[in-house]
Symmetry: none
């Protein structure tokens, strides 16, 4: 029923990011999103099932691009150390470039509506898988310790990047997020490399 393409579809998604970043998901009325998208209230429902569906679609759309971009940039790196570096850099730089989106993903999407969690899960799995790939490749190449537990290591990586970003959002994005890349990379490498 809901048509998930077209110029207005994009306009609504972009409007939703702005309004939700500004007001929070629960305070972001559908009518305000419609207004921001220069579209009638009813039009929203030609493209989305309901309000939750806006949030889910928004996340999948934006996070899908995010994952795709990260994947591509990682694949362009050669050494495993570079891949890890690029992973960190791409994560932080992408979010620091779209602060409204960062606010929405770091804060607003941490809500419990099971429907939202479900809708979101798939893309997140892809991202987790992408991180896992880097870890496994590093282990196979003997760069990372062979006894690393992939899932835990991935949670450390994602958890750290996520915490760093959330903390930056909570502090109003006042400092330069990307400047953390080197330190984080270094910290991870030490933890993941075997001792010589």
């Amino acid at each position: 029923m809901a048509k998930k393409t077209g110029e207005k579809y994009q306009a609504i998604i972009d409007a939703a990011v702005r309004v939700i970043a500004r007001q929070g998901y629960y305070s972001a009325q559908v009518s305000k999103i419609a207004k921001e998208a220069k579209v009638a209230d009813g039009t929203i429902y030609l493209y989305f099932e309901n309000k939750d569906d806006i949030l889910i679609s928004l996340f999948n759309e934006k996070m899908g691009q995010f994952v795709e971009t990260n994947r591509k940039r990682i694949s362009e790196a050669t050494t495993i150390e570079q891949k890890l570096y690029v992973l960190i850099h791409a994560h932080l730089s992408q979010l620091s470039m779209d602060q409204d989106l960062a606010k929405v993903t770091q804060i607003e999407l941490r809500q419990s509506s099971p429907i939202i969690s479900e809708g979101i899960g798939n893309v997140m799995k892809q991202y987790f898988h992408l991180i896992d790939e880097v870890i496994v490749e590093g282990m196979e190449q003997g760069v990372f310790r062979s006894d690393l537990e992939v899932r835990i290591t991935r949670k450390m990586i994602f958890g750290t990047l996520d915490e760093v970003t959330t903390s930056w959002v909570m502090k109003q994005c006042k400092y330069d997020l990307v400047s953390y890349v080197d330190s984080i990379h270094n910290l991870f490498l030490l933890g993941m490399k075997g001792k010589e």
Copy 2:
């Protein structure tokens, strides 16, 4: 005006944890919390300013204990490695023992209402400070690398523990969270210790 002590105060907080864990904050009607606490609707407002205040008080009350317990247990450890171990263990074991509370802190409290963020900030700062203390002590003792950046390292630690817990909550607390302690401890130690 709102009396923040007494048996009913506690009963309401505990009821709120259960109801919010079950339904999520926005779907948790005040009247349902009252019912769960076996108290009249109006009684809630003798102890709390408003619905937000329930969430904030709940967090401060529970998280205050959490931080206090962790601090105490850490102070009882002797070596710095043990302290780090206890920090991880206390974090995960405490949350894994009260799954309703874990659900609320990991999911429901990640909302953006500036009022809630503010009300929560203080206790979180204390916890961050506690982690920082361990890191700094380890550096001073020469156990951790002297070039660690405290803030980033703390974000790695907290971010990892938080991600591990959130992930566990999202998967319905189906597995044993505490079993991760050793791996995480090991991972952190490697990242934080100096290279020999």
Copy 3:
């Protein structure tokens, strides 16, 4: 934001007069007004800011017509005595024709909410001004004593008409209000005319 025209706007105002006359302002639930107007509760808020705004709008709408009608009828009278007569007659006859409205204006609108007082003040000023004009004209023509104090005289006129009407409303509108016109006219004329 609130659209102050249209068929539903009128329907709501008329319904409000009836419900408020029946129950009093504070006991008149918005939902009852909506039901009486055959409109959904929420529709009220497309046309009015809030409950107070219904009362204010109602008054301005109805009292605006009242003042306009009185002004027109006075202007059609020729002698000053006739104008005074018409003023009295128009006041009493209009209110006696719409008893629900009379009840609302005489009783319900005498409340202190400063917001309501403000919203009402403007129309009342116009009416007071209309009375003043008649008094001044009579003085200029030498029909009324030249030492009349306009403001006090106007308060006598308005106060008397108001008291007569309130008293009639309080007694359930059981007698004929208009039959008082001659006596009142006579009483005023004697007080206002110069002594010979």
Copy 4:
């Protein structure tokens, strides 16, 4: 059940006048009146049936004294002109001396709750009767026209005094109400005296 005497009874009534003058009847919570009277909430209900009863009792208590004072002062006057003068003077001067009370009687008591109207009616009747007596006496003495209609004349007198006072209250009691006495007296006399 409710004990209508005693020091606390008076304290509550006086507190009610102040609180209602300040906030209006509907916004004046019983608990605030209790606080102002330095009495527990429940104590109110040892002296009054319910909130309406406070308003009614307050009015009867205060207005009873008002009528009594006026009656006494009128009876001390000798000529009928003086009696009319004293009537006007006593009305305005008493209310201008207690502005809180004036606010309550002129504004807050004009509400429609039939229970309140009833409770109030009796004292008002006494006051109306007092005015009537002056009018009738004047007619019998041949000072006032023999064709005066007592009820209408009384409504003119009461209506004028009431309007003058309400208007003064609405303008924040900024000017001297008593200074109107002479003009009003003069105006009434001319209207009520026979033509020579």
